[in-house]
């Protein structure tokens, strides 16, 4: 009887841990799918970057570097970008933010938002520079800046969803055995 109760709790905790991953897949889908209100992806916000940034601060073990790499590579393949660009950006974001998470965790939301704005801008500029490097032609930088701005302004809305999934998660210090 005790054995059954124990495995049910374990299953429930694993299921709860799956929720942020499912949300990440939804955000990935939104990032890739053709939306009728964003002009051919030109101003599409970087939804996956938002999730990677958030979890790197509040639950870094949830999206480890290997997971960020795999998601980034999948994004590259499905969007027709040169493979490696998004994988590099997501792993670097996860790494950099994880290094600074102790500082960021003690900051108000406005600082978290501002730092995300810098991350989104840096991500867009890295994409712009690397894509230009592949084709030896650097296009106008303005769409990249607009994309970063849209990403920054939509961050609070996606944060709400991420906070909701965060509340579902089991406490990190609790043993999962």
């Amino acid at each position: 009887m005790i054995e059954q109760d124990f495995s049910f709790r374990k299953f429930e905790e694993k299921a709860r841990l799956l929720v942020p991953h499912l949300l990440l897949l939804v955000l990935l889908g939104l990032n890739i799918t053709a939306l009728p209100f964003f002009t051919a992806g030109a101003m599409k916000p970087q939804m996956v970057l938002m999730a990677v940034y958030y979890w790197a601060i509040y639950r870094p073990t949830l999206l480890p570097p290997a997971f960020c790499f795999a998601i980034g590579l999948l994004m590259d393949v499905l969007t027709g970008m040169t493979p490696g660009i998004n994988a590099l950006i997501l792993v670097l974001t996860q790494w950099g933010i994880r290094e600074q998470r102790r500082f960021l965790m003690g900051q108000p939301y406005s600082t978290i938002w501002l730092v995300f704005g810098i991350v989104a801008l840096a991500s867009m500029l890295v994409q712009w520079a690397l894509y230009g490097l592949v084709h030896m032609h650097w296009g106008p930088v303005m769409p990249a800046l607009t994309g970063a701005l849209v990403t920054m302004f939509l961050f609070p809305f996606v944060t709400l969803l991420l906070v909701m999934t965060h509340r579902i998660l089991p406490v990190a210090s609790r043993p999962f055995t």
């Binding site: 053709a34 051919a40 969007t79 660009i85 590099l88 792993v91 867009m124 490097l133 607009t146």
Partner: protein, 286 residues
């Protein structure tokens, strides 16, 4: 001496601890850089893997896209009700005008056919189309491409021209079994041989990641009026002759550019021109 060896071992431990947490991200950063360099140096090598992965994920992409597609159809239908009456009056007037044009077109067609027979002219083969739904785009401001739900199983091959609504949107660059990637005419890699109607001037329309592609190889002294139609010239054999592309416009610096007819921004359905049917062969098989 003893102190020195202790500090050395301490430094080594710190170094190992430092690396312990950073080894995984460092390895994945290195791996991403290597994949990027490899893909940049040999872009076609990973093409097969890319299309197989895209084929695998196409049902998921179509499922994610479906509610947005239906929502946009619904919004279009609802917002259209208010304008329906005005549009109905306009369409009736247009229909009367078009009936007159239809009679003229029939007369001209018969005349054209008679002259063609008289001259024994060899016409270019006719086209047939495959209609496909757009399920994904590049999702960024740099690569301008679309993913459509039709592939080699439906007769789609790399190089085929793609139309949407009023004009050309690009060409197929990769084709999997169930999906194909379309390079839009805005992309910096797009080069389309075009003909400026009325002047018979040929040029290359080059994408610049902006909404107005530029025209290359035009004589500097040439004068073309804005609004002049631009069509595909058919040179190089990739695009068939006569596909509507856009009209001449001028950019902020006064340079000649092309304003495409097709609204690629919110395109949901495209028509891929299938490998040309030979009219003579078709007559023989019938």
């Amino acid at each position: 001496m003893k102190l020195s060896s202790r500090s050395k071992s301490k430094a080594r431990i710190i170094s190992l601890q430092w690396w312990g947490a950073r080894a995984a991200p460092f390895i994945f950063v290195l791996l991403a850089v290597l994949i990027f360099m490899f893909s940049a140096a040999a872009p076609t090598t990973l093409e097969g893997v890319r299309m197989r992965t895209t084929d695998m994920f196409s049902p998921v992409l179509a499922a994610v896209n479906k509610p947005f597609y239906q929502a946009s159809e619904y919004v279009r239908a609802v917002s259209g009700i208010a304008e329906l009456q005005a549009e109905n009056i306009r369409l009736k007037q247009e229909n009367t005008r078009l009936r007159e044009w239809h009679q003229t077109a029939l007369t001209l067609q018969a005349e054209n056919e008679n002259l063609q027979k008289l001259l024994n002219i060899k016409l270019p083969p006719q086209h047939s189309y495959i209609t496909a739904r757009v399920v994904a785009d590049s999702g960024n401001a740099f690569a301008k491409s679309l993913l459509v739900t039709a592939g080699s199983d439906d007769g789609i091959e790399a190089g085929q021209a793609v139309l949407a609504g009023d004009g050309l949107v690009g060409r197929v660059i990769e084709s999997g079994h169930r999906t194909a990637r379309v390079l839009l005419l805005y992309d910096i890699n797009s080069r389309i041989p075009v003909l400026i109607q009325g002047t018979n001037q040929r040029a290359i329309m080059a994408g610049n990641n902006d909404s107005l592609p530029t025209l290359l190889h035009l004589p500097p002294e040439i004068e073309i009026k804005p609004g002049t139609r631009v069509i595909t010239s058919g040179h190089g054999g990739l695009y068939p002759y006569g596909l509507p592309v856009g009209e001449i416009a001028r950019d902020d610096h006064g340079a000649l550019v092309v304003k495409p007819f097709a609204m690629t921004d919110r395109v949901q359905m495209v028509r891929v021109i299938k490998t040309a049917d030979d009219v003579n062969l078709r007559h023989k098989t019938q």
